[in-house]
Symmetry: none
Subunit: 222 residues, 2 copies
DNA sequence: TTGCTTTACGCACACATGTGTGGTATACTC
DNA sequence: GAGTATACCACACATGTGTGCGTAAAGCAA
């Protein structure tokens, strides 16, 4: 079984996509069109742009018009290609200690995590993050269509802003909730991943609303 | 000046540093000099650059000359919020090292795990087990109704027998598969958790069949 | 006082970088 | 054969963006 993962990308496109994702990961900064071209021996920026357009069309990246290094990775999970190398030297294992919190309080200037219930230790590559992570115990089935069930743990990377479509934890009227984030002309739609539930519409000027962080992973025990 | 944590930064410098770190985190792209200025109502790029120079001098960031969005965060830990609470009794944390295997070969007397691709380290309480655990990368959607998606990791506790209804990994005709186990008068039904798929009926006398282990947990990264 | 640091403005310059247009060539499908 | 997608090159253009330089006010220590 070859290429079971990303059959919708051509070999070339996948290589370029992986390179972009790797650059973001390792240098914290997406490459420019010309840097991509240099990497792949493409002397023309037009060639690179053709590939970028293909990746945009297929939903792997997006670009912000006009701004430099404007590429955004939309499918970070698709970028993790198998290492393909049997590592002779088992690499150093970095672990993270992740507090599981029962309550998340949003207090200026930053997030205050209260009520630490347990601490999970986790392999860093499982929870790729440059910041601090914490975990929440999920209640309810509002994200069941995204494969997140009642009782699961989700891992949260604290951040105060999010992009359209991100799965986030937010404080709405004092209560923490997990939803998908869709801002639209001043208002915010929080979309549950559950056919049976309605989206929540929020006017930030009227309702207390604060993004706690982005969901970066989940775990379940049977 | 009243901060306890990073006394070497002024309030202003610290705010700017945090903003840069947050931008890298949330958008995957450092801000430009002008974007920083806009955020902090600095009408002159010169003002921003003064602060950046201070952050460089104090070792918090570095910049790559000439390239756009060239700021690199050197102290990601300093961008984090304070760790909330000195936890009174930090309990002992036991971790397990879990190999992720690409291939599972069933050979007596016990399981032989081949092709170790990576090693996950995991908190013991997350994967309660008295034996050895290993992990598999899930391919396909056969267990999607159980909330296990393509690309997820599942944790396996090796065992050669299972009980009715257990979710197991089994070798069928040389291929590893994840199904729910239902034995019935000499035959075995392997039930996928997916409406669209049919159960597999196996006659152990005719088909190679061996239980590898029981699924005890799962994990996903976004 | 002098000197140093921090904070801040204004502005011009050069290069970094995204974007558009127009080519060539190959392969595949209908 | 026409149409479409991929994979390249060459080049021009507008704008994004880092950098340099000068100015100035406020606070603090020697």
């Amino acid at each position: 079984m070859k290429e079971s993962q990303h059959t919708d990308l051509t070999t070339r496109q996948r290589a370029i996509f992986s390179y972009i994702a790797e650059r973001v990961q390792s240098s914290g900064r997406p490459p420019t069109v010309r840097e991509i071209g240099e990497k792949f021996n493409l002397s023309s920026t037009g060639s690179v742009r053709t590939h970028l357009r293909a990746l945009i069309r297929k939903g792997y990246i997006s670009t912000q018009a006009g701004i430099s290094r404007g590429i955004t990775i939309l499918k970070p999970s698709a970028a993790r290609q198998r290492p393909a190398k049997p590592r002779s030297t088992p690499k150093a294992i970095k672990t993270l200690q992740i507090p599981v919190v029962g309550r998340v309080a949003a207090g200026p200037p930053i997030l205050a995590v209260e009520d630490i219930q347990e601490i999970l230790e986790l392999d860093e590559q499982l929870a790729p993050s440059h910041g601090e992570l914490f975990a929440l115990h999920v209640r309810g089935d509002s994200m069941i269509d995204a494969g997140i069930h009642d009782g699961d743990y989700v891992f949260i990377r604290p951040q105060k802003v999010a992009q359209k479509g991100d799965m986030i934890v937010a404080i709405v009227d004092g209560e923490a909730t997990i939803k998908t984030y869709f801002p639209a002309n001043g208002k915010i739609r929080l979309q549950p991943a559950n056919d049976k539930l309605q989206p929540i519409l929020i006017d930030p000027s009227k309702t207390e609303f604060q993004i706690v962080g982005k969901v970066t992973g989940m775990m379940r025990r049977f």
